[in-house]
């Protein structure tokens, strides 16, 4: 189940990037989300969060579970996992 969630997050990251015609070879947990890593900007992250809400039914940023933006892919996955294990 947890790995499914990781798969969903990574698939959505790829989709948001491919909206700009960008393709990434591998997305790793320790990779940064922003310019130093996969290259999302704040609009991309906001888009990603809306699409993840459509896929998972949750927005941890709006519901206040998360008061700080994630820096890495792994941190983003664990934010979504947070509720799943609670």
């Amino acid at each position: 189940m947890a790995d499914d969630l990781r798969g969903v997050v990574i698939a959505m990251i790829r989709q948001v990037l491919s909206d700009h015609g960008r393709i990434v070879a591998a997305v790793l947990d320790e990779q940064g989300l922003f310019a130093d890593g996969v290259g999302l900007d704040s609009l991309d992250l906001a888009t990603l969060v809306v699409r993840l809400e459509q896929a998972t039914g949750r927005d941890p940023f709006r519901s206040g579970e998360c008061d700080r933006l994630p820096r890495t892919v792994g941190e983003l996955v664990s934010i979504y996992r947070g509720k799943a294990t609670a």
Binding site: D19, S42, L43, L45, T47, V49, V50, E53, F61, R62
Partner: protein, 445 residues
Amino acid sequence: MLFQLVQDAGLRWGSSDVLVSNSRSVSFGKVASRARELVDVWSGFAGTRVGLTAAIGVDWLAAAAAIDALGSTAFLIPGDPTAPELRSFAEVYKLTAVLDAPALPTSVAQAPWQNASSSVVLFTSGTSGQPKAVLHTWESLASGIKRSDKLLGMRMLLTYDLARYAGLQVLLTALTNGATLCIPPSRNMADIVRTVIDEHVELVSGTPTFWRMLLANSADDQIRRMSLRQITLGGEAISQPILDALRTAFPAARITHIYASTEMGVCFSVHDGREGFPTDFLQGDALPVRLKVEDGRLWIQSGRSMAGYLNGPGDQSAASVRDTWFDTGDAVEVRGDRVYFRGRESSRINVGGEKVYPEEVESVIRRIDGVVDVRVSGLASAIVGQLVRAEIVPAAGVDAESLRRRVSEACREHLAAYKQPRIIQFVSDLAAVGTMKVQRRASQP
């Protein structure tokens, strides 16, 4: 004033039809005599507040005229409200009665006298935000109505709710000029197309959304069988593509776009087939209203405006706005000899501090093949405030994935990154909620 208008029309055009619906009709003479009957039995309504809904049917006009003659205030309730909604409405606005069925009361007990001058309360469509109660008189509503012998016997289509400002303009035009108002049996586009053809409708006033849906729902041979002589657009931003599409479909018709609002009344109309309006309108006394551009927005001073907003329950002492400058909330831009509309301030989307007018994004998407209509709105985001979302009505048989790709490509080509819709959804219609205006509300996903 409405009562007098109805009586005059009854004398002049007695047996001609004023309303036609579902092959039933009612004549000018019949409306006039029915209004007199109602005045006789409704003395108890005198000087009070009475609500009217469309459910009254053909007697709606006679009832409104009778209420006017009794020195009462008519509250024109739009849409198709439920019984509990009507009860709370009556309570909030302290109405003596709400008339919402074809069977009208045959006698009314005396009520305490409240006010002696008749007025009309109507509601803004709430395109952006909550509907507001707007206080008018029949005089202010009728002050922009054109009188022309050419309109005598002309057949007009009612595309608006009668309880709205635009619907009342169409009704008062028919009543003042001896024209016939054709009411489609439903809001279904196939019914509307059939009514236009079968009733030989010559004059149609509608929103751009209405016209786009009419064109998309009419086959070429149906368009050819329509006898439109006057096409009027209003109520929403008018962009060049819809003017061009109507010009191509109806080469013989005169095409007019009108700038009006429930609050300010009819301000001006444009006949040259181009979006926006000439900068000449900003100077001198070319118009019955005065216009100026300030802070990038259009301001209007009008003697045809409402008396004011009804400031909450039981209060008619609304601040008068007549003959004062009124901020329309429409963002405009002057380029060359033309003033162009950029969009409504209140529908502006804020993406991480950058401002986006939905109208600009919509006009890019609407030019794409396979798009029937589109609504752009803000989607709440905890990260950037709002994201731009596009809801698109695709043409029949269009492949969704390829359309999505073409929409993204066109937006990337024509719009800055923050203006590009990040969320693209396909929908079957834009749920115009009875006004044929696109509803703009920022929403949760």
